[in-house]
């Protein structure tokens, strides 16, 4: 299982699709297929400083404006997704997705998240990032919240998804900060 490309097999709507090479990415790879029950979602900010609010709103809009059913509306209560920023230290991760209880992801019995999720920016790194680079990390983490796994690492920039796992790759090499075709296909498969 080592190497730049993940296993070149995706399970899509009950069909096994074998695909080779690095030209195709796989945002279809799911966390057990786990996702929210509805694509109509509320989000709230929980920010280290208000300087991150513009990026949080831009992140919500980046998903809402895709050709998918996803709608993320800012709300002060009942949020499904929290966009949070805080200092996790020098963990070499600039973003994390966590469940509301702080734990890593796990799926409810119904195949859906049974609690809210938190899309974190690690300010140890992101305080030094441009607005667009922050958004690249946050859109990626919210992709996890919506149910997408990593995919497309090292893919050509023309097809690399926002779910590529490394910021140096997704943003540094390919300047991606919004959902790409493969991400949109993944979401439309899930919702």
């Amino acid at each position: 299982m080592s190497g730049r490309c993940k296993v070149p097999v995706a399970v899509v709507a009950g069909t096994i699709v074998g695909v080779g090479g690095s030209q195709v990415a796989f945002a279809y790879e799911l966390f057990d297929g786990c996702h929210y029950v509805t694509p109509t979602l509320k989000w709230k900010p929980a920010l280290k400083s208000q300087t991150y609010l513009d990026e949080a709103q831009a992140t919500a809009w980046a998903w809402t404006s895709t050709s998918t059913p996803i709608s993320l509306t800012q709300a002060s209560s009942g949020a499904n997704v929290t966009l949070a920023s805080g200092n996790w230290g020098s963990t070499e991760h600039d973003g994390y997705m966590r469940m509301n209880d702080g734990g890593p992801w796990y799926c409810g019995a119904s195949g859906h998240w049974d609690q809210g999720t938190i899309a974190w920016l690690n300010t140890y790194y992101t305080d030094g990032y441009s607005s667009t680079k922050k958004k690249s990390v946050w859109v990626h983490e919210v992709g996890h919240s919506l149910g997408l796994a990593h995919s497309g690492e090292g893919a050509a920039c023309s097809v690399i998804p926002i779910m590529a796992p490394e910021t140096s790759d997704r943003y540094g090499r390919c300047s991606k900060s919004t959902p790409q075709t493969d991400d949109v296909n993944g979401i439309n498969f899930l919702y």
Partner: protein, 171 residues
């Protein structure tokens, strides 16, 4: 006979799909965004302030960051390959001790480390495993070492000989 083969095929495909869908929760690398990743063992070595062989000692403790657990485990250094670290190192790892059962005082580990910080340039006294806590920890297994964290995205080979790891450090 053809029907039997067909049934066996369907069963195999279904079993494969089940394993795909019910694979156990992955570690944090499944949902974190990595700043970057070393492309090979030489890059991992070059990006680490310290490379040692060390053995866990004593009970781990847990520190939480935003309700997420991090385990801090003391290691006694038995060989220094790079840097001049103290005799014991407090190594910080993602997850609780239950998530890190593959770290055992019965075994020795090749560790690629950097000082762990919350504030740039200010050491906490703890060490972080290079390669996002994933790539830079190998368990010693005879003449070779096996990477114990299984990030499928990692380009670092899972099993390597001790001499080749040592050679990649240089010096």
């Amino acid at each position: 006979m053809k029907r039997l083969i067909l049934i066996a095929g369907v069963v195999a495909v279904t079993a494969f799909m089940l394993t795909w869908f019910v694979r156990p929760p992955a570690d944090d690398t499944a949902t974190g965004s990595r700043v970057s990743a070393p492309k090979d063992i030489e890059a991992l070595s070059a990006g680490s302030a310290v490379v040692v062989i060390a053995r866990p000692q004593g009970e781990p403790r847990v520190e939480t960051v935003f309700n997420s657990p991090f385990m801090v485990q003391e290691f006694a250094v038995t060989e220094r390959w790079k840097g001049d670290p103290p005799a014991t190192l407090a190594v910080r790892m993602e997850g609780s001790p239950a998530d890190n059962k593959d770290v055992s005082p019965q075994r020795e580990y090749v560790l690629y480390l950097n000082p762990f910080e919350f504030e740039r340039g200010v050491s906490t006294g703890q060490w972080w495993i290079s390669g996002a806590g994933v790539d830079g920890i190998f368990v010693v297994d005879g003449d070779s070492a096996l990477r114990i964290r299984h990030d499928p995205a990692s380009p670092i080979k899972e099993r390597q000989s001790i001499p080749s790891l040592r050679a990649a450090v240089g010096g």
